[in-house]
Amino acid sequence: MSSLTKRIIAGFIVIGLLIPTAYYAERHDREKGIQSGKVISVKDGNGELVSLMGTDVIRALSKQQFPGDGQAKGPTLLYVIGASGLTGYSTIEVTGLEGEQHFQAGRQELDDSYVLVSNDRGTVSLVQRSSPERVLVDEISVISKIN
């Protein structure tokens, strides 16, 4: 076997090893993000995952919803749900990281008054626009469809 052939085989092995490494890094990053509240899981009525949204994406959604508005605290809950791809819901539940804090709201109640605000810990909290100092759910972990 020539030296070039050996190197070609080694090259293919390196590529073959890089693919599972990328999948492992993705899985590790995702689990770490979910545990720390930096990744929010959006689930449907059966508890199946609809999408995962990083807090960086939430910040980007804020700029997208309120372009050029420096005073914007964050995107509305309704806007985030729409961006996640969750549809056909009548009641929604927002759960905090520890699972202790819950917030439920019907579709009619979900107006622009509920906002997801970024905090210093790199996570997001649910607040009411009229009283942002009162946190409804701290460190949001899951947004799920109830029915």
């Binding site: 990083g54 960086d56 994406v57």
Partner: protein, 211 residues
């Protein structure tokens, strides 16, 4: 009269260009494009690499393929890089192509990384310069082309990820699809590299005057 004739002969010799058959006649000054200019490359090679680098940036700016797959640009991006390096197998070519395409990408306002997009273009070129000697610069071999194309395409993804983390860009969705992105980058880069190797094989014998 004889004196006048001798003077005319002198004048003719001074004004005439060296004949084609004069093998010992070497070009001098600005005309010497084979002399070392950058790395171990002559000015002509640097200009050729600059042309390939420009092709990368301009093609990325102009080409719009409605293919919603990450890394599909690697087909022509890595293809052009490997074509350039395959036709002129000299160290520094990848660096020049990467740097030229990176500067042009900044000037053309490509991407959302601002001036840092330079690194996304520069890193694949730099890695190509490191990889090609490992395979004895045999970029006319389709397997070597595919491996180099796949690896430098993956380096582009790695550079984009690193920039996203450093600049705090919204890349959550990208990080969550890292495995899938890596596979598509490898596939498209490999295709580009293999196609480029066929072109190198066909073009190189016709470009003997490039040496």
């Amino acid at each position: 009269m004889a004196k006048t004739n001798a003077a005319m002969t002198d004048l003719t010799e001074k004004n005439d260009p060296p004949s084609k058959g004069a093998g010992s006649a070497k070009p001098t000054g600005a005309a010497d494009i084979t002399r070392r200019f950058l790395f171990r490359l002559g000015l002509a090679d640097v200009i050729r690499f600059t042309m390939f680098g420009s092709m990368v940036a301009v093609t990325n700016d102009v080409t719009r393929i409605p293919m919603q797959l990450p890394g599909h640009t690697s087909v022509w991006w890595m293809g052009i890089l490997i074509l350039g390096k395959g036709l002129i197998p000299k160290f520094g070519g990848g660096i020049i192509m990467g740097a030229v395409s990176g500067v042009l990408a900044v000037l053309l306002g490509l991407g959302k990384e601002g001036i840092f997009i330079f690194f996304k273009y520069f890193i694949p070129g730099l890695l190509l310069d490191a990889l090609a000697p490992i395979f004895f610069n045999r970029l006319n071999n389709p397997f070597v082309g595919a491996i180099c194309g796949a690896l430098i395409s993956l380096s582009k993804l790695a550079a984009a990820l690193a920039l996203g983390v450093l600049l705090d860009l919204p890349m959550g969705f990208m990080a969550m699809g890292l495995g899938y992105s890596a596979v598509t980058h490898i596939v498209f880069g490999g295709i580009g590299g293999a196609l480029a190797s066929f072109l190198v094989k066909r073009l190189k014998p016709r470009l003997t005057s490039w040496e």
